[in-house]
Amino acid sequence: MANNGSNNVLVSVKNLKKFFPIKQGFIFNRQVTQVKAVNDISFEIKQGETLGLVGESGCGKSTTGRAVLQLHKPTSGHVFYEDQDLTTLSEGELRALRPKIQMIFQDSIASLNPRHSVRKIIGEPLVIHNIGTAKTIHNRVVELMELVGLNPKWMKRFPHEFSGGQRQRINIARALALNPRFVVCDEPISALDVSIQAQVVNLLKDLQQQLGLTYLFIAHDLSMVQYLSDRVAVMYLGKAMELADKQTLFKEPLHPYTQSLMSAVPLPQPKLERKRKRIILQGEVPSPSKAPNGCVFHTRCPLAIDRCAKVIPEYRQVHPDHFVACHLVDDQQSSIIKVIGR
């Protein structure tokens, strides 16, 4: 879908950092330490593509999504939308740009105001941005509800009268109200039942084709990410570990963490599953407030060497469009000792 020319990059993230302070004390309220939720991340999203962002809980994938849209003010780094640096814009300038950059949230019930009717919820972005009259807004809401597969007759109903899947459709309709070009989808399907997930995924895909949307798709479900994305970035403890196009990443992952993650995900194929050897990682993800020195993954890495505990591996391009942060990836051959033979 996306070609490789660098001129069609829509969103470009450079050395993005977001640290949250941890404060202690009541009167003097001093900062004791900080959580490095997103620590120096760079990636590009091309026009019309879907970039998947995966990782375990607490790896900073949602914070990244929010920092890209400036819902969290980044600690440092830059986010370019076309050629505008979002981090330098004023509140007003940012608001003027908001129609183009939108977000779909995970929790459809928490992100919809329970006291507002669906018409008010979907039409609100238009009211805020002063677009159109009451009549045109009404027509636009009808159009949007049809677009996402909701019956426009339901526009006077309230969020609690809808099922989880329908609520997520309301969320999507609201995000699309202002004709955005770039949408951050933060785990839009993880709270839904399997048969409903497929409905929403298909809808997101259709909308992308119809409207030429560009997605940053955040999820922890690797199979859905594989299904929906063109390229995938893997995060661990606030750092990007690897980024490549989908085929490469799922077939030939270079980073030991990516390999372990792929191996830990069960496949819905019983015969294959019984034969497969698994890499079972020891322990759990350390707390982001006490991230290890050197490579953040070295405490669980089955291949870690001394250098991994001391030196932070550089996040670098080893193949065209294949980035990885690992000392063990050989630059010349750009290959790695497999954690297990497959």
């Binding site: 899947g165 329908q166 399997v194 298909n202 199979s223 299904y227 819905p268 079972i280 759990e284």
Partner: protein, 339 residues
């Protein structure tokens, strides 16, 4: 066979009306096997298991019918006829339980060692010292390092995966015959999920326990189940060996479910996922016909008037559907050509 459930019916009498949660569930569990129970939220997978062990709050809940025989040493006992005291002896004794959310199932004010030891003093009649010794062994067994010191830790000092290990230790402490695991890995990250699945499988082999694994994740089912029970609208719609279920699903709901997830037949993004249109059934209505009929592409008049029983297809494969498999294949082809 170690457990046989016949025609279980559970209802809840709520303010909004009667919730028909379980509408005649039948299944059997063999000693040492892993039975996966899959279904979407509200399909009745948890309520079925909770009904068997007297964990349904009554009122509002009421078990209105059925039998659940637990077989042991050639004797059979009906779990549904037991007094509170008898069923309490079964729970945590012959039948262990692992819940989805270990933080709310562990007592936050009690050390984890005490919580494990408690069940052994209660059920096996061990004294305090014996129970402590056995607890430390168990903690080692479930992969908690430095067990002797960890005995005196509180649940909040453990991570999610470690807490689930503690839950597993409690579940297997009294040498159960059956362990019921209710979505034990849903709240965990994938790398930790892999650890927990491996641990449960190792313990099962060592101790010869039968496991009932409740989940909504078909990939987890594929990786560990021997047999699968698919539930929908408070009924069992299909019961098959795991390979049969994935290779040759019989119930339209199972067929739809397998087409709705990536990775079974569809790996590439070019192919569309097939979603099941519509929404799960409203449990506030009494079930008088097939619960899946309103969403089913093979629906006939009979489906809308009668409740299909579980029909035996092969010895180990049953499905609750009026539609015959041969006819279905023909129709599927017609549908494909029609599009």
């Amino acid at each position: 066979m170690i457990l046989q459930v016949k025609n279980l019916i559970t209802r809840f009498y709520s303010v909004d009306g009667v919730v028909y949660a379980i509408n005649g569930v039948n299944f059997a569990l063999d000693a040492g096997e892993t039975l996966a129970v899959v279904g979407e939220s509200g399909s009745g997978k948890s309520v079925t298991m909770m009904s068997l062990l007297g964990l349904i709050p009554q009122p509002p809940g009421k078990i209105e019918g059925g039998q659940a025989f637990l077989f042991e040493n050639g004797e059979q006992q009906d779990l549904l006829k037991m007094s509170d005291q008898q069923i309490r002896r079964v729970r945590g004794g012959k039948v262990g339980f692992i819940f989805q959310d270990p933080i709310s199932s562990l007592n936050p004010t009690m050390t984890i060692g005490k919580q494990i030891a408690e069940s052994m003093t209660e059920h096996l009649g061990l004294n305090r010292l014996e129970a402590r010794k056995r607890t430390v062994e168990l903690l080692n067994e479930v992969g908690i390092a430095d067990a002797d010191r960890r005995f005196d830790s509180y649940p909040h000092e453990f991570s999610g995966g470690m807490r689930q290990r503690v839950m597993i230790a409690i579940a297997v402490a009294c040498q159960p015959k059956i362990v019921i695991a209710d979505e034990p890995t849903t709240a965990l990250d994938v790398t930790v999920q892999a650890q927990i699945i491996e641990l449960v499988q190792r313990l099962q082999e060592q101790l010869g326990i039968a496991i009932v694994w409740i989940t909504h994740d078909l990939a987890v089912v594929a990786s560990m189940a021997d047999r699968v029970l698919v539930m929908y609208g408070g009924t069992v719609v299909e019961d098959a060996l795991v390979n049969d279920l994935f290779d040759n699903p019989q119930h339209p709901y199972t067929i739809g479910l397998l087409k709705a997830i990536p990775g079974v037949t569809k790996m590439g993004a070019e192919e569309r996922l097939e979603s099941i249109e519509g929404a799960p059934p409203d449990l506030l209505r009494e079930l008088t016909f097939c619960p899946f009929a309103p969403r089913c592409q093979f629906v006939s008049d009979q489906c809308l008037t009668e409740l299909p029983p579980l029909i035996t297809i092969t010895k180990q494969h049953r499905a609750a559907c009026f539609y015959d498999a041969e006819k279905r294949k023909i129709k599927e082809k017609e549908v494909e050509h029609g599009q």
